[in-house]
Structures are given as C-alpha cells and as structure tokens.
C-alpha cells in the first residue's frame, strides 16, 4: 500500500509527551491537512517522518518501510519546516546546487525560476533570511523536488498575502502535474480548506479525528436562540461548546441537526472548519 503511515507513534522529550500513541495514514496521491494548535505535535510527527527525530516507540512507515535511518524510504520524503538545518552561512544558490547533488530528479532550473517568482535573493545566506523568506526558500526546494511525499510544516509562516497566494497556486499546479502526496501541517485551516482532500486533526499529541474535508465540514453545526431553548435542544447531544451572551446562547454541536427538536425560535447555521477546529481542540479553556 502506498502511504505514509504512523503506527502507535509515541515521542517523549524528557517528561513531556509530544506524541501519544498516534496511528494515522496519509494515503498516496492526495493532499492532506494535518491540523493542530501550536504544540499539538505536528512538527514532531513530521520530524520523525523525515528522520530528524527518532520515535520513542512505534514507527513511521513509507510505503510499508520504516523511515527511521532507512535510505530507501528517506529518498521518497522531503520535509520543510522552521528548524534551521542548513549551515547558516550557506547561500541560497549554493543550497540549490547541493540539492541537485543530493536528490535525484531535483530540477535546478525550476528552483531558479521559482526563486525568481518569489523574489528570493540567490546570494542571501540561508541563516540571514527573514522568517518569510526562510519559508519561501524551503518551499522553492520542495516544489523543485521529485519525491513522492512532500511534508510541509507551516508552509506559509511569515509569507505575505501575495506570496501565500502564489504558493497555493504553485502547490496546486505541482499536484495536478505530479499527483504526489502532500501533507500540509498548519493551524490556518480556512486557507487550506479548499486545497485538501483529507484532514487529520491532532491535539496534545493525540489523533482527534481523521476524515475527508467534506465529511469534516458537515460534521458540526451551530444552534442559537434563547439560552433555555438552546439547552433543551442540546440535551443528550454531543456538544462541543456553548457561548452564552445574557439570555442568548449559541451551541456548537457535532453531528447532524435533529429536525424534530428544531423550533422557529432556534437558528441552525453551518460551522466553519475554523470554528469546528477551535471547538474540537479548545477544551479546558
């Protein structure tokens, strides 16, 4: 089976548990969103998948092979992110040259063209780039590679609106051309909502939900009205959260609206992915 798969993946850093027995699969040939708040474990998961980190227990499999220190599996994966791993004094054009040597199928011309589109300074040192350009530099490398699995950790961190647009467009073009697997780890859900086919949500190191983007979108709704009406409606349902404002209330409910319980005095509205995500992951706040 062609997939990138985490199996009972656990990672501890000293006393903190970053990933706690996570099992999930990113099927080949699809764009996946890996959603989670800061510190949810997204970067740790991708770090293990790219051999930057070593799992405490469990494993990540690429097309059935464990990825950790396995050259064959590693040749299929590339992960971008905010961890500085290139020598600070290495220039962008040197990095591009080296990429061509380390990765079979790296398209140097494409990298140069993309860099130009993003106005990335070729002579700049990778260690001296701003956050936005550091992201861009990595995205340029990623989009010029021929690997099967692209893992993009917060790809638009620090990018302005125009560059973000450009990146999403290029990513879509790349995907249409090659049909490879892309995993976008982010907390900006609405931005990737139309782009992705599957969504996995992790929170506090655990997998919360794995679904298609459409399923996820239809998996929650909001009910608003007078507080007592809302509370009566919610009786026995899976309520993610309730906002109360004086005598009014708005409840976020998982599942389908219950037609029999709806009255004229209650308003049902769809829940945006963003809101659903906040309610799903915002417990205890």
């Amino acid at each position: 089976m062609r997939e990138l798969r985490a199996e009972h993946l656990t990672k501890r850093f000293g006393k903190t548990t970053a990933l706690d027995d996570v099992t999930l699969s990113f099927e080949h040939g699809k764009i996946h969103a890996l959603l989670g708040r800061n510190g949810a474990g997204k970067t740790t998961l991708l770090g293990i998948a790219s051999n930057r980190l070593i799992p405490t227990s469990g494993q990540v499999l690429v097309d059935g092979e464990p990825v950790t220190d396995n050259p064959r599996a590693l040749a299929k994966v590339f992960c971008t992110g905010n961890v500085q791993m290139t020598p600070l004094s290495m220039c962008v054009d040197d990095l591009i040259r080296h990429m061509g040597r380390f990765y079979e199928g790296f398209d140097v011309k494409r990298a140069l063209r993309l860099a130009k589109m993003f106005e990335l300074n070729m002579k700049a040192k990778t260690g001296a780039l701003s956050t936005g350009y550091r992201s861009i530099c990595q995205l340029v490398m990623a989009l010029s590679l021929d690997v099967d699995y692209l893992l993009l950790d917060e790809p638009v961190l620090g990018l302005d609106a125009a560059h973000r647009d450009l990146f999403y467009r290029l990513l879509m073009e790349d995907y249409l051309e090659r049909g490879r697997t892309v995993v976008v780890a982010t907390h900006l859900i609405e931005e990737v909502a139309t782009l992705v086919e599957r969504v996995a949500i992790i929170d506090e190191g655990r997998l919360l939900m794995e679904a298609s983007a459409d399923e996820l979108r239809a998996s929650g709704y909001s009910v608003s009205g007078r507080a007592e009406d809302v509370r009566a409606y919610c009786e026995g349902l899976k309520v993610l959260g309730i906002d109360e404002l004086g005598s009014l209330a708005m409840a976020y409910v998982q599942g389908e609206p219950v037609r029999e319980r709806l009255t004229d005095r209650l308003d049902v509205a769809p829940m945006s992915l963003q809101k659903l995500f906040v309610e799903l992951t915002g417990k205890g706040e």
Binding site: F13, G47, N51, D69, P71, M85, P87, R101, F102, Y103
Partner: protein, 224 residues
C-alpha cells in the same frame, strides 16, 4: 548517490580548510626563516609539525554538528553521516600527511626542525614513515575531536567540558607524573627498546575508539 554527494560536500570543505592551514603554516615558516637570515640570527620557529594535531580536532569540533544537521536534512541516515564524516576527515588528514612527507623529502631543514616524527626518531626513517605517522596521528586527533563534538551535541557543552576537566584533574592527581611521561615516551617509541610500531598502533587504536564513541553517541542524534 546521497553518500557520494555527502562525501563530496564534506571532503571539499575539509580539504579546503586543511589546504588553507598548510598555506598559513608555510607562510609563517617562510617569513620567519627569511627574517632570521636577514638578521643573521638563528631565530627559528620549530616543531610546527605539532600544529596539525591541534588543528584537526578543532576542525572536527567546529564542523561536526553543523554538517550532521545538514546531511540529515538532505535525507542521509545517521550511519551514512558518520561514514561520510570519517571519509572526509581521512581525506583532509591525507592532504596534511602528503604535505608533511613532501616537505620532509624536499626541504632539508624540515626533518630536524619541524617534523615531530623525524625529530624524535631520526631523519633516516624517511618520508614514508613520516607520512604514515602524520596521517594516523591526524586521524586519531580528528577522531578524538569528533568524539568530543558528538558528546557535546548529545550532552551539552558545559557538562562535557566539566566532566572532561574533572577526569583530567583526578587522573593527573592519581598518577605519578614520572610514570606518565615514561608511558608517553614508550608509546611514542622514544625510550630505548620500545618498538617503533607503538605510535602507529596507538594512533589506530585511538582512531577506532574515537569513531566508536562518536557512533555510539550520535547514533540516535536528533535535530530539535
């Protein structure tokens, strides 16, 4: 492909550093030599041959962490990183040894004033053994440097330096300085009766040990 690219990347970097180092040393020797001739004074820098053994570990300390991160980023496994590092340091050591042997063969003063091995054992041992001594010596020094770099990456600079200092102080207090210097002399075959093979065996052992420690410590290295 990746291992080849990695060796190319690291070896070029290290050999360049070693070449610059040779040029700097050469310039110093030359300038001081000319100065002493001009002044008719017998003023000489001697035993510059010791510097490579200082230079290589420093080089190891300064590049290992950075290179490891970069190579892991480029999709190499940890064993490939160590293999590439070892091969590249070997290349740099090779350069230094070649330069040393060439100097010993060409410059008449070299054997008497600069080369550690020939100064200790006499010029009759020739450039070949001098070459081997320098190569293995630098390799051993590099391996020790790499081991320290790996320990530093794993446990943090402060802990490694403190523990190393503590070990050094304790052992130097415990051991009889006389015995230590005798031991060193025996290891380097400077005492009569000691085999000339001793230093070579010693260097090989230190290299192996250093690489072993490096491997053991950085086998599960992570970039956080």
């Amino acid at each position: 492909m990746k291992l080849k690219a990695a060796i190319r990347y690291q070896a070029v970097e290290l050999v360049q550093c070693a070449a610059v180092f040779c040029l700097v040393i050469g310039a110093i020797v030359l300038v001081v030599g000319m100065f002493s001739i001009a002044n008719e004074a017998h003023f000489m820098v001697s035993a510059m041959g010791v510097l490579p053994y200082v230079f290589m570990p420093l080089l190891a300390l300064s590049v290992y962490a950075c290179d490891t991160g970069f190579l892991l980023r480029m999709g190499l496994t940890r064993s490939q990183v160590l293999a590439s590092t070892a091969a590249s340091f070997a290349a740099a050591c090779l350069l230094l040894a070649l330069v040393e042997a060439a100097c010993a063969a060409v410059i008449p003063q070299w054997a008497l004033n600069q080369s550690l091995f020939l100064m200790g054992h006499g010029p009759q041992n020739g450039p070949l053994l001098d070459f081997l001594f320098m190569f293995l010596g630098c390799a051993a020094a590099s391996a020790v440097g790499l081991a320290f770099a790996a320990l530093q990456m794993r446990f943090g600079t402060r802990r490694v330096v403190l523990i190393a200092l503590a070990v050094l102080i304790v052992t130097s207090n415990q051991l009889n300085p006389r015995a230590v210097s005798d031991g060193w002399a025996w290891l380097f075959a400077l005492t009569p009766g000691a085999s000339l093979a001793n230093p070579f065996v010693f260097f090989v052992a230190v290299t192996a040990l250093g690489l072993l420690v490096t491997w053991a410590v950085s086998r599960r290295y992570e970039v956080r």
